[in-house]
Symmetry: C2
Subunit: 162 residues, 2 copies
Amino acid sequence: MLSLVHLKVLAAVARHGSVTEAAKQLHYSQPSVSHHLARLEAATGVKLVQRIGRGIRLTSEGQLLARRASEIVGRVDAATTELAAQVGLQSGRVRVAANASTAATIVPRAAAALAREHPGLELSLFERHPVDALAMLRHGEAEVAVVFRHARGGGVPLRPPR
Amino acid sequence: MLSLVHLKVLAAVARHGSVTEAAKQLHYSQPSVSHHLARLEAATGVKLVQRIGRGIRLTSEGQLLARRASEIVGRVDAATTELAAQVGLQSGRVRVAANASTAATIVPRAAAALAREHPGLELSLFERHPVDALAMLRHGEAEVAVVFRHARGGGVPLRPPR
DNA sequence: GTGGTTTACGAACGGCGTAATAATT
DNA sequence: AATTATTACGCCGTTCGTAAACCAC
């Protein structure tokens, strides 16, 4: 089984076209990156890079694998983020600042849905004038603000809880 | 960065609902799988499994991550396969057995395209009666057979070179 | 006691950096 | 001489298996 680190390194080398640059971006030493490439070649049994002049170039197979590697690494990062978000939704505080009309209409419906989906959340609703609602959001006194700015088209700034 | 092995183990545990079964399917020892789960929990900081009676159960976060893990591991496997196929197309031998009518019409066009895309391939064409063409395929004397079985709807058995 | 999971321990491997070497401009 | 990549080496963490302990039916 390939290693994610190997794939990440290959993707970085593909992006920057150089072992040195990839190492810098990954905060690795130059030899580490070189070694990773060698190991990845050994693991796959495929030549992935070519020395060309005093730099290197990916072979066509290297380019193919690098594209897949970017995709895969992206998914891993996304899964990590998603998991963290899921945990954040299990418990925590969500303070909603809304103006009168939204606080009476769409906010209760959204609040009910949120409470149903994530019963562990502590949910508070504050009815404020739009300007004050946004101020609460800005000052960290609320996680969510719901206001109408215009008659048509609304603004719904959203920050995840913690 | 999460480890692919960890993700693979989590996916296997999710599939089989048991550390023991997952270990069997992965050809690991039982303690290894247990240890992997513990490490994955440590790495993510999230409780992923619960002891329940004398078995275990994934938490909701565990189930979420397991779904993503399956997806990711699948992509890694696909990339590996794809890379191997790409290498196979760089060099090797493709022997095509075709009956007279296809050998004169669609096969040359396909052969030209293949030769253009993958110049390293050694390409041979054999014109045979349909039955003999399929026999060559079956006996490993050809990698590809192209025959018409009926007046409408053709059969194009394909095996990748090596 | 049986089936299942976890903890403990030791061996082998992998991954990292620093230092030294090679190759190209 | 300067820049880039590789090889050599030592350290530490990870991963594996076996053996022992733990827990629930």
